[in-house]
Symmetry: C2
Subunit: 257 residues, 2 copies
């Protein structure tokens, strides 16, 4: 369910991807450690000084239970409205036990938010370099975001909905990532324009609109699920939509207009 990237051994994508140019959701999933415990192990290793439990296996399993409970309750009523008693019940751990895994409720929020941010940054950065041609770059970046949000949907949803509870410092980091992923798209569009394959447009607005489409996939997943739209269909539809707008017209034949 969760994916993770060790800070020490960033995975190498190029070597592993058969067709860099055109990957689907199944290809994407093969790239990563999709064990449901991976992200929790990462959290354990990152927060070893504050987590009181020293047995890794046990700690990771309980962190998994805790995070899942947080996502489940928060998606219904929000993190602030979730009480520690709610969490205790849903995670099958006593109140006392919970506090062995985080200092306080606010700390729990930050642990989740930080881990989510690190993961997104690691994965998306890796996908910048998977293609060379502007059109392939654009497709690659759009798809990677959608597929990642599919694999780690609870983290994406939680990060978006609970962003308001962040400190000024953390909010700044969030905005920086937002601006960064937007800039990645803008750069690709500019490259394409300079090569004559994309039209001259307001690339900032195009990038914003692309991001809003990607976001819809994890904010309104129930809607797409009820219509039985899978990640590949959605990603293809989005790229098709975008391409119809940005691709330069094929050259006109003289005399005909």
């Amino acid at each position: 369910m969760f994916i993770v990237f060790s800070k020490h051994k960033p995975p190498i994508y190029k070597k592993e991807i058969k067709s860099v140019e055109d990957f689907d959701f199944a290809d994407f999933k093969k790239r990563f450690d999709t064990s449901k415990y991976s992200l929790c192990r990462e959290v354990f290793q990152t927060n070893q000084e504050s987590i009181k439990i020293k047995n890794e296996k046990r700690a990771v399993e309980n962190l998994y239970k805790i995070f899942n409970a947080v996502f489940s309750i928060s998606s219904k009523k929000g993190f602030q409205a979730m009480t520690m008693r709610d969490l205790s019940k849903e995670a099958n751990l006593s109140m006392g036990a919970l506090y062995a895994y985080f200092k306080n409720k606010e700390d729990l929020l930050h642990i989740i938010q930080n881990q989510g941010r690190v993961m997104v940054k690691n994965v998306l950065d890796s996908f910048e370099a998977t293609a060379v041609e502007p059109l392939q770059k654009l497709r690659s970046v759009i798809k990677a975001h959608i597929f990642l949000s599919e694999v780690a949907r609870p983290w994406f949803f939680f990060t978006f909905m609970e962003a308001r509870n962040l400190s000024e410092n953390e909010l700044k980091e969030v905005r920086e990532i937002e601006a960064h992923t937007e800039k990645v798209i803008v750069d690709i569009l500019e490259l394409g324009e300079s090569k004559g394959v994309f039209k001259k447009r307001n690339h900032f607005l195009t990038a914003s609109i692309i991001k809003s489409m990607q976001q819809d996939w994890y904010l309104k997943r129930w809607k797409y699920k009820s219509r039985q739209i899978n990640p590949d269909e959605f990603a293809d539809y989005v790229t098709g939509f975008v391409e119809s707008f940005v691709l330069a017209e094929p050259k006109k034949i003289k005399g005909v207009h």
Copy 2:
């Protein structure tokens, strides 16, 4: 700042719009009562039995202060995290005074959510009929939504972010409006397809994507504001983006491809 529609005298749009085919943000604003108190007066009249204050002028003014305070605090930390003491301070009313305007905190939430829903439904329904040709209908519906969310941005933002706190019954109403506005777009796309002006596409996906763009305008307003994008620019960009995808190709000249 707020706009409102009386249940008893729905405004007539067709007669008032000079150019039905192509209105801009300034035109849109002229259509409505944009007095900052209008929505609050509507709330007062709708909830007269539960509001203890009988002096309309005073009640409406205080409701305005209360709602603005709610929007301001909630946008920073969420409705659940807002305490009645926060609200009391921000609205310049004592705790005791606040409870003359609503039964309890939950009631306050419902009053805002309900009023927001009624307003959106009234306005958007009115815009279905403003044009006849599919392309003009599509433009009209897209723009109306963006312009409305601009005029009543706090209500839109609040409604979206606090939807999780609703009861099962109210959630059902929200989903119905969502499905309804989506269906309005799907119907237009189908009409256009049958008339040969729009391509054959998955209209559900197209409508979803259009809605995600519109939503971005009120969810990420700070971003657009910092880039000094105004409602007209944004609306035009969105309609241009959509049209490049849905419009049928101009007929090809025989022998040339």
